[in-house]
C-alpha cells in the first residue's frame, strides 16, 4: 500500500481497484465455497489496516463517503463475544468506524458511549435468553436519555429474532455478520 502511494498511484484508484476490487473477489470466492470465514476475516482486517494508511491521502473528490461510527457491545451479564467480534471485524472492513465496548456492558455505559462518541449505530449482542432482555433495557435507557432517535440499533445473537427486535423497538435483527454489514450499509445510505 505504502509502496503504491510512493509510486504516485492515486489513493482513490488504490481504493477502487485494489481494495474494493479485492473485496469483491473475496466475496465471490466465499459465495462459491472456495473461501471461508477465516479468509473473510483476514481480508476484512487487511482492508481495515489499508484504510488507515489510505485515509489521509484520500481527498473529498475520491467519493469516499463516511459510513458512520458503530458502537458494539455484548449486553450486561453476558460473556459471549465470538459472534460480536466477527461482526466487528466485518463492519470495520466495510468502512465503518468501530468502537467495541466488550462484554457484560450495562445499558448506561452503552448510552454514555453513544453520547461521548456521537455514534450513528449501536450493535447489541446477546447469547442467553436471560440477557436478551437487557437489549430492551438498553433501548429504554436510550429513550430516557433522548438518544434513541440519534442512532440505529442493530441486534443479533442466536436467541434473538426479527420478532424480538420489533418487540423491543430495535431497528433491525441480523442473523449473521454478512447481514450485519448489509443492514448497516443500507441504513447508512439512508442517513447521509
Amino acid at each position: 500500500m505504502r509502496k503504491s502511494l510512493a509510486q504516485g498511484i492515486a489513493a482513490g484508484r488504490i481504493l477502487v481497484e485494489a481494495i474494493s476490487g479485492g473485496m469483491e473477489i473475496v466475496g465471490r470466492k466465499f459465495e462459491q465455497g472456495e473461501y471461508y470465514i477465516p479468509d473473510m476475516l483476514a481480508s476484512a482486517e487487511a482492508v481495515g489496516v489499508a484504510m488507515e494508511i489510505l485515509a489521509p491521502h484520500l481527498t473529498a473528490a475520491a467519493n469516499l463517503k463516511p459510513k458512520g461510527k458503530f458502537i458494539l457491545a455484548t449486553v450486561e451479564k453476558d460473556q459471549h463475544d465470538i459472534g460480536k467480534n466477527i461482526v466487528g471485524i466485518m463492519l470495520k472492513g466495510a468502512g465503518f468506524q468501530l468502537v467495541d465496548l466488550g462484554v457484560n456492558v450495562p445499558a448506561c455505559r452503552i448510552a454514555d458511549a453513544i453520547e461521548r462518541e456521537g455514534a450513528d449505530f449501536v450493535g447489541l449482542s446477546a447469547l442467553l435468553d436471560t440477557t436478551m432482555r437487557y437489549m430492551g433495557h438498553t433501548i429504554e435507557e436510550l429513550k430516557r436519555r433522548q438518544l434513541r432517535s440519534r442512532v440505529k440499533v442493530l441486534i443479533g445473537g442466536a436467541p434473538t429474532s426479527p420478532e424480538f427486535a420489533r418487540e423491543i423497538g430495535a431497528d433491525a435483527h441480523c442473523k449473521d455478520a454478512f447481514a450485519a454489514v448489509e443492514t448497516a450499509n443500507r441504513l447508512a445510505e439512508g442517513r447521509f
Binding site: 471461508y36 470465514i37 477465516p38 451479564k77 460473556q79 465470538i82 459472534g83 466477527i86 435468553d129 436471560t130 442466536a158 436467541p159 449473521d176
Partner: protein
Amino acid sequence: MRDGLRVKPYARLTEEQIRRVHAASMLILEDPGVLVGHEEAAGLFNRGGARVKRTATPGLWAVSIPRGMVERALSTAPQVVRLGARDPAHALLLDGRDPCIHFGSGSESNFILDLETSTWVCKDDPAREGIFPTFKKKRGTVADLCRAAHLAENLEHLDFFIRPINIQDEEITEQNKDVNKFFACLDNTSKHVMAGLTDVEQLDHVLHMAEIVAGGRQALQENPVISFITCVVKSPLELVSEATERLLRFCRRRIPVVISSSPQGGSTAPIEELGMVSQINAEILSAVVLSQLAAEGAPVIYGSVPVRARMDNLHDMYGAPEFNQYNIDCVQMARFYGLPCYSTAGVADAKVPGIQSTVEKTLSHLFMAHSGAHLIHYAFGLLEETQTFSLEQAILDNLHIGLVKMICQEPQVNDEAVDRSLAVIRKVMASSIRLFARYTRRKLHAGELFIAYPFEGDSSADTTLLRVKEELERIDSLPAKPLPAEIRERIFREVPGLLERLRQGGATSAYTG
C-alpha cells in the same frame, strides 16, 4: 449404586505424548498464564505462590502459575467423587483412575423439536399416500423440562440428568429460574441431577431444596443428589468473574462441581490438536488450582468440552472428526492426573433427526465411550449444535448408546469359555446339519443378545421416527415418581420462587398444564 461400564480405554495419545501435552500446558500456565477477572481469586492465586499482575483492564489480573502449584492442587483434589441421587440405587461413583463410563443428558437448549406426523398424498400418483414426520421448533418451557426429566427416568442408559431444555415461560425470571429448574428435575427423575446456576444468589435456596430432598445437611454431603457445572473458563485462558465466584462458593460448600472449559478449535483455541489440548488442559488445571486454594480437598471434576469451529460461520461444531480427537485426548489427560472426567458425545450439527444426525452422534458416542470418560454429557437428544432438543431423538440415542455399551463390554476369554466353545464346535461338527442355532438359547434367554433394531421400518419407507413417536407416547403414559408429598410441601414452604403449577407434582400435571 448404579454400575457404570468399565472399558478398556482407547489410547489415542501415547504415554510420551501425554507427557508432552502436560509439559506444554505447564509452560502455558507460566507464560502467558491465565487472566483472572475476580479479585478474591487473584488474591488466592497470589498467596498460593503465583505471580499476579494487574492488567490495563480494571478488575482483570494476569496470573502466572508455577508447576509446583499445579502439583500441589492435584495432590489434594480427590480422585474419587461420589454423585448421589434421590434414589440411592442411581448414585454414581467416579474414580479418576478407573475408566468407568456413564452417559447423561445436557445442556440448556432454547428450542424443543415437536415431531408431527401427517398423511401425504403423492402428487404424481394420487393413489399413493404415506405418513411422514415433520418437525416444528418451539421455545422450551417448564412443562417440557418436566417431560424430559420423566423421559430420562425411563431411559435405561441415561445415568445422570442435566436439564436438556431451557425454561422460558413468561413467569420465569433470572431470580426464580434456578429453583424451578432444579425442582422440575428432582421431582421427575430419581437419578442424579446436575446443572449450572443462572443466578449465584440462588445457591442457598437450591442447596436448601437439595437438603430437604436428601434428608438434611449431613445427608446431602453423603448423598449429593445434585451437583453443579460451572464454565469458569472463557477461552482463551480467562477465568471470568461470575463463574469464578460460583466455583469458589460451590467448593466451599463441598458440593461436587464440574470445572468446564469449552474452547473452539479455530476460533478460541488453536485448531491443531496439540495446541487445542494443551490450552484446554491448562485452562481446566488453572481452575482446579483455584478450587483447591479456596477449599482444599473440594470435589472437582475435570470438564473438558473442546469443540471445532465451523469454517463457514465459526459456529461450534460437534460432528467434525477433530471433535473426537480433541475429546479423547482430554479424557486421557484427566486420567493421567487421576481426576474424574466430564466429557461430551452425541451432539449433532444436523437440525432434525435423520441420517446426518445419526452418523454424527454415533461416531462420538462410540469413540467417547471407548475413551473411558466418567461422565459423558450432551449424549441424549441434542441437535443443531446443542441449540435444539428432541425427545424422540433422545429415545433413539438411548437405543444407540445401549448398542455402544454392548460393543464396549469386556471380552469373556477364560478356561471355561474355551472349554464351552470347543465342546459346542465339536458337537455341531459331529451333527448332521452343522447349525449352531440351538446353542444360542442360553445367551438368548438370558437377555444378553441383540435381537433386532427395535424401530425397524418396512420396505416402502423409513418408518423409524413414526415408531419412536409411539414409544414416546408409551413412556409419557408411564406413572411419574414424584417427590413424596411431605417433602414437596416442605420445599414449597421453605424455598421461595416456585411456580404454583409445579405444586401438584408428577410430570403429567405439569405437562398437560
